[in-house]
Amino acid sequence: MARDSQPTEAGGIKVFRRGPDFFRLICGVAAVATVATLAWMIGEITWQSWPAIAKFGAGFIVNNRWMPSREIFGVLPFLIGTGVTSFIAILISLPLGLAIAIFLSENFLPPPIRQTIRFTVEMLAAIPSVVYGLWGIFVVVPIVREFGIWALAHFKHTPVLNTLFAPPAYGTSTLTASLVLALMILPTITAISRAALVTVPPTLREGSYALGATRWETIFRVLLPTAAPGIVAASILALGRAMGETMAVAMLIGNSTRLTWSLLSPSGTLASLLANQFGEASGLQVNSLMYTALLLMLLTLGVNMVGEVVLRYTQRQTAGIR
């Protein structure tokens, strides 16, 4: 294994004899500082949400009334909103993002064109959330409203669909927010998945072709499983962003505090609730909003755990491949 402080042979590398320990110390300090800072933030959030936890307990999660003037706080509609919007967003953007990542890591097109497409997609990451919100208002809301009118008419009598597509149907709704969120998280999935795919050792790809596999068999059976850790990390980061996105969602989701299962109706997410109310909140409302942030962190933890399970499954198949 590594020989940390051995004096090395001729070649004048003796100057690095002390190096490794020193660098390890620096990295260790960085790690400690990172944990300390982030843990402090988590601690602060927990501390601030304590009065609300003490008062509402787990009932906070299942109560569906949010009334600041009467000090009654419950986040069920927003929890469902977060779940549904993030789920739809990742459902749409994971396949699309992977498709583009594969497209960019294979040689369908010459490198200059690939680079251009890659930077164009990454440009999406630079667009401020406010602009996504504005684009959503101008472009997506009218489309969803038209679709809503069509869906309401056609699905009125179909069992499951008529709950999913029920009135009131304004343009600002869960569906609108989900679609725009999908676009917002696309660059994350594409960029990180692409990076994961291009770092797969070329020998694996060549070996697969040598065995007679087609391009797509190689992609599905060799490349994707090998790049799986990166792709899972990309998905988790993207899902995290989707769950925590405040501004664009607040502008597009209609912001209703009523529980609804219809994709066409206004609703809310935990993050948009935070964005809308934080500035004007005081007292128990602030504590409740911090409790909301705590819930978001727990949700992220859940997502991460699912990611680990997925990863363990794929790692079993590709153990030792690096």
């Binding site: 982030l38 164009t120 676009l183 696309l186 964005a275 978001l296 992220t300 991460n304």
Partner: protein, 293 residues
């Protein structure tokens, strides 16, 4: 050996002869599907870019970098101070978050992957991937603004660094994992120390992927409003020091886009266009400079 090899190849070819036509048809189908999906995604992407250009280009000129923001009801003006503010605060954020994130990832992946410290860093980083940006602002407010007694670019930089730290750490870790073990083993086999291996072999190989993560985080930081409103506030004037309220492109866009005056709303679009251009330039430069050679 030779014969076995060719026999095996024949075996493969023969066994799959019946399915090979189906396989290559499937292959072509997937090619088409992949290209179609990619094109499908470009539709909204292009839609946003067109909207951005359509609304933002008219007011784009060198004035926007040299003039101060126009007050409501006034025409002309620019947002030079906001450009400077964003550059400064994102720069501060990177100065704080990049060393912390990358070096922590090095520790957690190279030096002590199974230690409690490594698990702790991973845990807190993962916990915070879904955090709304407003919380980073609130925390930085409590820690910096309340302590110093005023809003400042410092506080804004701290808030943004908190926002980007989890992403930088997690993508850096992924980048390090992506470096084949064989490289490290070869390096140790040649007698290098851990430090030399990391510094000369692992990090350079992982650098492109690390840069991708850093640029993604930077792009997000440059475009976020909520963390900056509670920490750097805003300013209508040129920046004098990092100890005072500072303008930023994202807060400018947020302010102007919510006004009922057409000129200011249009300025917001131009500012968005400038922000996207600046971040893209930074992205392209950084990734081209640090690509695998």
């Amino acid at each position: 050996m030779e014969n076995t090899f060719t026999e095996n190849l024949d075996f493969f070819r023969g066994a799959n002869a019946a399915g090979s036509a189906r396989r290559s048809a499937g292959n072509r189908l997937l090619n088409v599907a992949c290209i179609l999906l990619a094109l499908l995604t470009f539709v909204p992407l292009v839609s946003i870019l067109i909207l951005l250009l359509e609304k933002g280009l008219p007011l784009l000129s060198w004035d926007v970098f040299t003039q101060l923001p126009p007050a409501s009801g006034m025409e002309g003006g620019g947002f030079g101070n906001a450009v400077v503010g964003t550059l400064v605060m994102v720069g501060l954020a990177l100065v704080l978050a990049v060393p912390l994130g990358v070096l922590s990832a090095v520790y957690a992946n190279e030096y002590a992957p199974n230690s409690r410290l490594a698990h702790a860093v991973r845990f807190v980083a993962k916990l915070l991937t879904g955090i709304p940006s407003i919380i980073c602002g609130v925390f930085a407010y409590a820690v910096v603004v309340l302590t110093t007694g005023h809003f400042s670019a410092w506080a804004g930089g701290v808030a943004l660094s908190l926002l980007t730290l989890p992403t930088i750490f997690l993508t850096a870790e992924q980048a390090l994992i992506g470096v084949p073990k064989a490289y490290r083993e070869a390096s140790y086999g040649l007698g290098a120390t851990t430090f030399q291996t990391i510094w000369r072999i692992v990090l350079p190989d992982a650098l492109p992927a690390i840069m991708t993560g850093i640029m993604l985080a930077t792009a997000r930081a440059a475009g976020e409003t909520a963390p900056l409103i509670f920490t750097a506030l805003f300013s209508q004037y040129w920046m004098h020091s990092i100890q005072e309220p500072t303008a930023s492109l994202s807060v400018l866009i947020y302010n102007f886009s919510s006004l009922p005056f057409a000129h200011q709303v249009q300025m917001a679009w131009t500012a968005s266009l400038v922000l996207v251009i600046l971040v893209t330039i930074a992205n392209v430069t950084a990734q081209l400079a640090f690509r695998k050679k």
